[in-house]
């Protein structure tokens, strides 16, 4: 969680409070807020709640997901594990700021078909 917030902060996304959690403009739903919920579900819910339309979810299994309010619920931007939380923070921030996502797209949920 610290790494996630660090990623958001480093990108300079202005910090706002959402559901009592300090976030970098994107609402985060910590795992303990919904027992059976998956990271994807949490992330989408957070994104929909966020005024900036971006949400991050972490589930009990340690999966981390970055989502956008306007994407279909089952098609998040990124899903990965806790070791890449910092990277998720960066990319959640970049969705807000409108910058291309960081690093190679191997982790991205949807990439372009290779031409």
């Amino acid at each position: 969680m610290r790494e996630l917030l660090a990623g958001l902060e480093e990108e300079g996304v202005p910090v706002r409070l959402a559901s009592g959690t300090p976030t970098g403009g994107a609402a985060t739903s910590p795992a303990d807020s919904g027992e059976a919920a998956t990271a994807v579900e949490l992330a989408h819910a957070a994104a929909r709640a966020s005024p900036l339309d971006v949400g991050v979810g972490i589930d009990v299994e340690g999966r981390v997901c970055v989502h956008h309010a306007k994407r279909p619920a089952d098609r998040p931007v990124v899903t990965t594990d806790a070791t890449r939380a910092r990277w998720c923070g960066h990319n959640a921030a970049r969705l807000v700021v409108g910058l291309p996502l960081k690093e190679p797209p191997e982790q991205l949920e949807e990439t372009w078909p290779q031409h």
């Binding site: 660090a6 969705l95 910058l99 949807e110 031409h115």
Partner: protein
């Protein structure tokens, strides 16, 4: 009524024109086009020709046995080559500077002091001015706490250089901000105990002090001789959002020219050498001095030398296959100034520098083609009469004249893949032609290398289509500002990226450059190749080199389909009062099918 098909075998494309010829002249039934198989003018072309003839027939609902004859142009083999020679190199020795644009430097301003490893901050005496260097593994909270503690003790920590992407995290945790440059990959190579300066500009601005020789001189108290040595450092830092300069005793940045070998241009009367590193303008001026070019050679061991040898060898082989014995001499070269983004040797943060380069296109073309073999094989493949004939330039003019609104004197500009060809038909029916190196393929290559794509397909897509930027998951903004919406969300990879909207749908451009930069590269590549070649070509065919003597210019060929090249050429010749536009062969085919149409036209005229 006889059914005829004219076939134009081009370097890249084979085109057909089907017509029924009667006493009233030809009635055109349609056309077809396919990729040329093999080197133009060789028997390898047969499969392509067979394919295009059958497609033209079936499109018109005609059968192969109705066909009276196939008319093929005299397709002289053309081999062209492209090479690129980098002529400058930026080398950093002794880690004198780090100038890069990390996404997130922090704390605008300028700091100076002696470089100190983060771990050694505690050992600094109060009053000392230092720049903290934090390597891998230093956590941002520890870094901030350490710097704050040192400052509390009176140590003037005025800036920091860190390895991780941590600059904002550190600065946000300091009581007063200092400039911090992050993402310095090889931070362990930053020399310690040396005077250094760290500068970070406000968002949207670039460094002012470290990009100014006298700014560096002020900071490090340099004498004029030392200032002269440091000037290339300042120049290399121009345009960066953040920079670090460490003053090492023997530090040095060389902005050196690479000896790029010599090109020898051989004319009928003179033989002039020119250094490739002299640049395109000088090479083209030398070429003008030896015109007409009889041959060219490049220094062995250079890219240009290798390319010229390859082109010549390929042609020799093509000709020997067919028993011809002509010499394979380079007939034209086009040199273009370009640049290539290249990783700076000795850089600490993966810096790239734009190095100057010269791209060269060269061409060999024979005067007489080994067409008999081709015609023979074609005859047996299609079981029909095959007539070889008609000089390509004459046929192109005849075809171009089917464009509404044209008449002689008329010049044809055929913008192909490998070569730019021009022909002028004067009022009395004479045709002069010229064949120049450099066309669509060189444009693609320039786009590829200037953007550092290393992907010919993407470069070709960029050449042919307008750009857009994906501004959200559901819409892109086109380069002219219009928005386009999508119902399906775009892939995450596309987000905030420059994309190109090609025939195969949307494709991301793998680059960090902003849209405008990609657009600029695209347009300048087209300009450097086609405007230059169009003017060169027209000047060489125009009576007395005077463009005003040409009434109409008809632009033809695959590259005439481009969405901006014909406009650029029209703009360039507008001053001469020439009517210039894209051809519309037979009032319907656009800039395609001129030679194939000309073949039919000429045959119909002869038989009437």
């Amino acid at each position: 009524m006889t059914l005829l098909v004219g076939v134009d075998i081009g370097n890249s494309t084979t085109e057909a024109c089907l017509a029924e010829c009667g006493p009233d002249g030809p009635r055109y039934l349609g056309g077809a086009l396919t990729s040329t198989s093999g080197v133009k003018g060789t028997a390898d072309n047969v499969p392509g020709v067979v394919k295009v003839v059958q497609e033209a027939l079936s499109a018109a609902g005609r059968d192969q046995h109705e066909l009276a004859a196939v008319l093929v142009n005299e397709a002289t083999p053309v081999i062209s080559g492209l090479a690129m020679e980098t002529i400058t190199e930026t080398v950093i020795t002794e880690s004198t500077m780090i100038g890069h644009n990390p996404d997130t430097p922090a704390g605008a301003g300028l700091g100076t002091g002696t470089t100190v490893a983060f771990a050694e901050l505690g050992a600094c005496a109060p009053g000392e001015r230092v720049i903290c260097v934090a390597g891998a593994g230093v956590d941002f909270e520890d870094a901030a706490a350490g710097i704050a503690a040192a400052r509390d003790r009176g140590v003037e920590v005025t800036g920091a250089v860190v390895q991780a992407d941590d600059a904002n995290l550190i600065v946000n945790r300091l009581p007063t901000p200092i400039p911090v440059v992050d993402e310095v990959t090889l931070v362990e190579k930053v020399p310690l105990g040396m005077p250094a300066a760290v500068e970070v500009a406000e968002p949207g601005r670039t460094v002012r002090t470290l990009s100014n020789s006298y700014g560096i001189a002020t900071l490090f108290d340099l004498d004029p001789d030392q200032t002269r040595l440091v000037a290339p450092v300042a120049r290399a830092l121009v345009g960066n959002r953040s920079a670090v300069v460490v003053r090492t005793p023997s530090g040095d940045v060389a902005d050196r020219r690479i000896p790029a070998g010599t090109l020898t241009l051989i004319g009928e009367h003179a033989r002039l050498p020119v250094g490739v590193d002299a640049g395109a303008e000088e090479i083209m001026a030398t070429l003008r001095r030896v015109t007409p070019l009889a041959d060219a050679t490049g220094e062995a061991g250079t890219h240009v030398g290798g390319m010229l040898a390859t082109v010549r060898d390929a042609m020799a082989e093509t000709l020997s296959d067919t028993g011809g014995e002509q010499d394979a001499a380079i007939q034209d070269v086009l040199a273009v100034d370009t640049f290539v983004p290249q990783r700076v040797t000795g850089a600490l943060a993966g810096e790239f520098a734009l190095e100057n380069a010269v791209a060269l296109a060269a061409m060999v073309r024979t005067s007489r083609a080994p067409m008999e073999a081709l015609a023979g094989q074609l005859r047996s493949a299609l079981d029909v009469d095959v007539h070889v004939g008609g000089v390509e330039a004459d046929m192109a003019v005849l075809g171009a004249l089917t464009t509404p609104g044209t008449r002689r004197p008329l010049a044809v500009l055929d913008l192909g893949g490998g070569s730019t060809d021009a022909a002028l038909a004067t009022g009395d029916g004479e045709v002069h032609s010229v064949h120049l190196a450099g066309a669509g393929d060189l444009v693609t290559k320039l786009i590829d290398s200037e953007l550092g794509l290393d992907n010919r397909d993407v470069a070709e897509d960029i050449k042919k289509n307008p750009l857009a930027k994906a501004e959200s998951f559901f819409h892109v903004r086109m380069e002219d500002g219009t928005a386009r919406f999508f119902d399906e969300p775009l892939p995450a990879e596309a987000f905030a990226r420059v994309v190109v909207l090609g025939e195969g749908g949307m494709r991301p451009v793998p680059t960090r450059h902003p849209l405008e930069k990609v657009r600029r590269v695209r347009r300048s590549a087209k300009h450097k190749v086609f405007v230059v070649n169009a003017l060169r070509a027209l000047e060489r065919v125009a009576p007395g080199g005077n463009l005003r003597e040409i009434g109409f210019v008809v632009v033809l060929g695959g590259s005439a389909l481009d969405f901006e090249i014909p406009d650029m050429i029209a703009e360039a010749v507008a001053a001469a009062g020439v009517v210039c536009g894209t051809g519309n062969v037979r009032g319907s085919e656009g800039p395609r099918n001129a030679v194939a149409t000309g073949l039919v036209d000429e045959h119909a005229g002869r038989t009437r």
